[in-house]
Assembly symmetry: none
DNA sequence: GATGAATGAGGTTTCATTCAT
DNA sequence: CATGAATGAAACCTCATTCAT
């Protein structure tokens, strides 16, 4: 039954996906405002009018592209992480996967790092637009699990999320602009090392000792 | 009265500064593309044509505003930090000052966090536009100094910069959107704690030991 | 049941008529330019492409709808009036019938009063589009008959047509917009009275006499 | 004083008027929807953007043009008619002047006859748009005055207005399309004759008597 | 015949920039 | 120096029309 209904829908889906993918690329490359609908249309090999058969307007397309990207990535992430038992490893894996996922191409990285900010104007226009919320919530839960399992110190998960997402975000952004002369892999390894040390249990560092 | 206080050069400086300040505010509030030149002109109480006597175009004004903001903040920072002897305290102070400085009003915070990304399009048009470079370099130096003084571990300063700037940036961004229910002060304290622990000298954490 | 009643030709006729009727209504309601082909298609419960099987284009549909409406109404009119002997009564009946016919619903009234003008652009594109010509000619003939029968004064029938059609048209237009607080019936009665007095035989009015 | 303030304004007014006049002509020629802003701009010898310095949008321009035309004509009318004592002559003069005024060129005639209808869509969007209301009210008053002076029968002025405006409107419309082979002057004379006879005091015509 | 997904030309409107005053 | 009226390029979106199924 599913196969039947999808026969006709296949092409439609195909076209919708082509538009979404084109949108992510072009938005990521040029930014929301410099992206013209016709750029996306050409990239998706459809007429510009066609885009309006699938999306109400440019804003709608942007939001859909963003949400579907995040949604898809989050599903990926969850599936892989669910297979890991250790709560701490899960957290580390999150770091690695995040970077892996968003570096398929620099446009995607730019899309999630740059446009995430750009799109703050959407927060006003579309108050329900919280594309990262679910993502962040998931990360919070991973942190809380690690804390509950006594694998890391009991710290404010909101702060931890800011450190982790902020670091990942900026690292990807710099990478997408070609600004860094370290490999992302290197950067990740070291960042994980530093942050993990900052989280592990044990006595707080004492300045007096050092002096 | 007005005529008296406004000496010729003062008047000119005054006008340029008024435009820059207006630009920072309006760009921060509305974002680059939604900001109209006439908005800035009105906010600075000049005619729109006048802006073109001081800046070549909208891009130029944006860049000038950004650079002058960063430049001014960096001078501030350096002056205050120069008065501190301890290399580690300097690093901590940097964190605090950064947040203090860019939270004078949310528009300024948005300007530096959101528009920094937005402006990646300027990297293409104006390859020399690296507004944060000096700022980042200074932070790198502070890190290196702390390492050289054996106050923190010998880590890659580039990575450290990414963690610190990324964290600060994201914390400010979330704050400017009113998304966080923690105070910035709280977040800063805890972030510093975590990152500092991650940096302090001593043996690496061992998972097996902890369990 | 539906399949049975819809014989092949009947079905076709049915569809064409359904489109024409839908067109009259939607054109009347929204005006030519605000009417979208898909509006008519939906109203006629056909696909939009289907309309192009029966009409060359939107203009063609508009003209066809208009002409068929007028044609149908004129046939009605002629049939009823043919049954009347008195040439004067025929003229009066024309007045009444015209109003009756075009007030079946306000959309139809708007269609014939408003779009008649709107469509003056068709006069350029389709010089043969003279939808009211036959109608007007018939009225002229009725007038001429009344004159020949010495029932009214011998006046220029063209002028009379302008008075009658102009009056009817404007009365219907105002009614269709809901602008008048008199009933159409009232207006008609009084208008007929005035115009008929203006037509009847006898000495011209003399101002001096009346005073 | 007035002269001074008008010095600068002169050019502005000139441009505004040029746009209004161009608008009346082009709207009259092509109709509202087929008229493109750039058509009006070219006709007024300004850039298309300039039009938006004087009018909010196309609708606004249309309404302004219509209202200013009617307003101007009505002032004319009132001034001339005020100089006439006889209440009946006033009514007759109204008829003549109306035709004279709106036949300066066919575009103007089309503008007032065709677009008056077209613009019924404006009644919905702009409920206060009643361009002819004042005009009609003035005609009603003229009628009432003639009735009060016992110069014509006591008839419903609303009906009379419908006859008069409807007739004038249709006559002008047909003339503007070049459809009539009578001169407007001829038509007017005869129409006035018929309508006046219909209005004069005296016994109603009796059909039976005539036969 | 019937469908409706796809097309793409076209128009209103905005706004950065210029330049006469 | 300062002004702000004028310019005109550019882009989102609509919708009549086509054509593969």
């Amino acid at each position: 039954m599913k196969r039947k209904t999808n026969k006709l829908t296949a092409k439609k889906m195909d076209k919708r996906l082509r538009i979404i993918n084109a949108a992510m690329n072009v938005f990521g490359e040029k930014g929301f405002h410099k992206t013209k609908i016709i750029d996306i249309a050409r990239s998706a090999r459809v007429a510009d009018g066609t885009i309006y058969l699938y999306f109400h307007n440019k804003d709608d397309l942007f939001i859909a592209a963003f949400e579907e990207l995040i949604e898809e990535k989050l599903q990926n992430l969850k599936k892989i992480i669910a297979a890991i038992d250790d709560k701490l490893e899960r957290l580390l894996k999150f770091f690695s996967l995040h970077i892996e996922m968003f570096t398929q191409n620099p446009n995607i990285a730019r899309f999630v790092t740059k446009e995430l900010r750009q799109s703050s104007e959407f927060y006003l226009k579309y108050p329900t637009f919280r594309p990262l919320q679910e993502y962040i919530n998931y990360l919070k839960k991973l942190c809380q699990d690690a804390i509950d399992a006594s694998l890391i110190r009991s710290i404010d998960t909101e702060v931890l999320v800011i450190i982790m997402i902020g670091t990942l975000n900026f690292a990807l952004f710099e990478w997408s602009l070609g600004n860094s002369n370290r490999s992302l892999e290197d950067i990740k390894e070291q960042a994980v090392n530093i942050i993990y040390r900052g989280l592990k249990k044990g006595p707080a560092p004492e300045n007096t000792e050092d002096e």
